[in-house]
């Protein structure tokens, strides 16, 4: 079920009504669990089985890990959990991709497996894997209630496209009183509305331009291709961060705080900073469960670069079973390694290099860093957006003017949204620095109107009018649903 549908509006209204009527916390949890099942199994009920199997295995493995006293036994249960999670992910997402590689390498016929990719499989697999790994590391006690664990795995606001919530963040919140409060409902709905606006008003409108241009890049002129690349950078940001905002807002209304997933990513002055601001929960997951276990930066510069490359290659592959995602991940791996090398050669630390400053030299460095970072990120988006390497190469040839000619289409909303996004990033980046260190949503993280009165009624009404009147008829699914 998509957040952007009348079905979801009716579903969410029913959930809220139910929560208001349920007398106890246990009853509310039971209602939410039913809601999670309805949400995920609404269109394709068998997806529930794909969600249930690794959940049951992880639940059991975590209990076994905690009970086991022998290190080998603990490791065995962890391996079982990882094999189960990664096996299911591999089967549904990567079997055709790797089958194709093997067939190409050996000349054997490639047997395609025709199977629908369960929505959000990459997200919930990482979520459950982090749980067993945390229990194995002794950082988290195993959850003893299957229902609580099922609630964590299947929590509908973030089930299909994140943020990737860890059990250590979610499970303690289940002990809180789940009373609907006006403060939570008001701020949650505003955050959800912000996400809805990003998705419907910006991302869907930009897809009117981006989709045909990327579908037929040879048709369009250099200016059009360059504009489409910028438009796609805005589209994917508003699409994905819009979903995350809606997830955060909806969860807040229900009574849960989810970690923020984006923090003005296009204000970054380095690629390292970009990954601290873009898809934060995935970056943190890759850091904690892949990069650091590989050795992080503790084993010398060369090993650090290798670890960065490996982490980003797998991060790229996590997004999709395609060479374009691998290239996208590799590009970012190279970018991160080069930036680390650059930092190691100078006296600046990553942190001091990334700050916008009022001194002319530092400002110039920041502007140059921002421009280089944004251009690099856009280069990566070309591979991310194109279905094949040949398409991406054609887009890049067009963009740099190697293939002249074509139809010129300068889509006006791109420029309007670029200006709004730039203003929002400039204003918001200062505000975002107040974000709490552990990645939780700070009380004032979103620009939320807190008092109920003339000003808030005016702003919300005008906002709704704009949203309702200017939503395009064209609707595209959330980009990250495919992952």
């Amino acid at each position: 079920m998509s957040f952007v549908s009348l079905n979801f509006a009716a579903f969410f209204a029913a959930v809220l009504l139910g929560l208001a009527l349920m007398p106890t916390r246990a009853a509310k949890h039971a209602l939410l669990l039913v809601a999670n099942v309805v949400f995920y199994g609404f269109k394709t009920p068998w997806f529930l089985a794909v969600l249930a199997v690794p959940s049951l295995v992880d639940f059991a493995c975590a209990l076994r890990i905690e009970r086991a006293t022998d290190a080998r036994e603990r490791r065995s249960w962890l391996v079982l959990s990882l094999v189960c999670n990664l096996g299911i992910l591999f089967y549904y997402k990567y079997s055709n991709f790797f089958g194709d590689i093997v067939a190409t390498a050996t000349g054997a016929p490639h047997l395609l497996i025709y199977v629908a990719l369960p929505v959000g499989i990459s997200f919930f697999t990482f979520k459950t894997m982090s749980y067993t790994i945390d229990v194995y590391r002794g950082q988290l006690p195993a959850c003893r209630s299957l229902w609580r664990y099922a609630m964590f795995v299947s929590f509908f606001p973030e089930l299909v496209a994140g943020p990737i919530v860890r059990a250590s963040v979610f499970l303690p919140q289940m002990d809180r009183a789940m009373r609907l409060s006006w403060a939570r409902v008001g701020s949650g709905l505003q955050i959800a509305l912000l996400g809805l606006t990003k998705k419907l008003l910006v991302a869907d409108r930009l897809s009117i331009f981006v989709d045909p241009v990327f579908a037929s890049p040879a048709t369009y002129s250099q200016g059009t291709i360059l504009t489409a690349i910028v438009a796609y950078s805005l589209q994917i940001y508003c699409d994905f961060s819009g979903y995350s905002d809606m997830a955060v807002g909806i969860a807040r209304v229900i009574g849960f705080d989810l970690p923020e997933n984006f923090n003005m990513p296009y204000a970054s002055t380095s690629i390292t900073e970009f990954w601290r601001r873009w898809h934060i929960t995935l970056s943190q997951w890759l850091r904690d469960y892949l990069y650091i276990p590989l050795g992080g930066s503790r084993r010398g510069p060369l090993r650090t670069y290798v670890n960065l490359m490996l982490t980003m290659l797998l991060g790229g592959l996590w997004h999709g079973a395609s060479w374009t995602f691998v290239i996208w991940g590799a590009l970012h791996g190279v970018g991160l390694a080069v930036h680390k090398l650059w930092i190691s050669m100078g006296s600046d630390s990553i942190e001091s290099n990334n700050q916008w400053s009022l001194t002319p030299l530092k400002s110039l460095k920041a502007v140059a860093g921002w421009a280089a970072t944004y251009a690099f990120v856009c280069l990566g988006w070309v591979f991310f957006r194109c279905a094949t390497f040949d398409d991406a190469a054609l887009v890049l040839r067009k963009a740099v003017g190697l293939t002249p000619g074509g139809v010129s289409w300068l889509y006006a909303p791109t420029f309007l949204f670029a200006a709004i996004a730039a203003a929002a990033h400039v204003l918001g980046s200062a505000r975002a620095q107040r974000q709490t260190a552990d990645g939780h949503v700070a009380a004032d993280s979103y620009p939320v109107l807190r008092s109920v009165g003339f000003a808030s009624a005016f702003v919300i009404t005008a906002w709704l009018v704009i949203l309702l009147l200017f939503v395009p008829q064209h609707r595209s699914p959330f980009i990250y649903f495919q992952f």
Partner: protein
Amino acid sequence: MQCLSVAFGVATALAASEGALRLFATIQGPPRPNVRADAFNAPAVTVREIDENVSVAHYSVDGARLTGRAPQPDAPTVVLLGDSYIVAREVADHQTMGAVLERTAHALGHDINVRQYGWPGASPAQYLVEAPNVRARWGKSPVIIALSSNDFDARAVSGQWPRLALDNQGTASALNDLRPSHGGPAPLSVLAVLGSRQWNKMRTRAPLWARSKTPPATNFDGVPVDSTQIATLPRGVVRALARAYGREVALVYLAEVHVTDDDSTDAVYERALLRACRLERVTCASTRNTMLAARGEGVIVRGFPTGTLGRGHFNPAGHRLVAAELWKLLNAPPASVIAD
């Protein structure tokens, strides 16, 4: 007190939105043409829109799409009829095909006045109904009728009234809706107009439980439309229009040429129309080849910077290309069929 301030905030936001939107959109759309009453010196009505493009258009109170040029007193008049392509809300007055045609003629030393009448969503039945009015008002002035694919499919016989009916000889005639009109009250605010337009666009996407039931298409005389009738429409339409307006009428087919993917059924209707014109000896032209040639040079005739390029109504380049075809039609020998 808090409730009052919230209510005041909501009301103020709605009023401010209404005021801001009125800068870009008008409550009333273009007036429906009343050809018999129309006059060159009729007062003008301004219509603004932000649906497909941000534009300002002017019409006479009797519904003629103005060209932005003062009428030339002794110049002959050319009457242009069509649907929303002729209403042309999306472009400025001087960019309409009629305006370009006037300028083209003037540049070649032949002043003409172009009077453009458009009925949004009209089928050829509308032009049949209007024939006596056009002849009464504009006498023997040349009449050019702009047609497109939706004039020859099921919508022509089962869509908006008036609708087409075919007799046993294959000649089309117009059927009017004899039921009493049940149009609602005129809207009072731009907000309501844009809101209802948006709702109409969105409701087709709503889930089944939220979708209002649309009545099945009414066929003329209650007889279901069959594909045989549809196939004979082009010839029946050409024959009927020639009878209604005389052999001087000229028809122009407005082709669907997009950026990359073209509508194959559109070419079928186009060929059927041109064939019918040859058989009925009616002057006819299609814009397809001109538009395809223009596309080869990077000129796309449909769409605006705020929407999808290649889709929707004609942009100024499209109007220019159609005007070029109209000029060819006006100068063509009788019963010519211009398809290249």
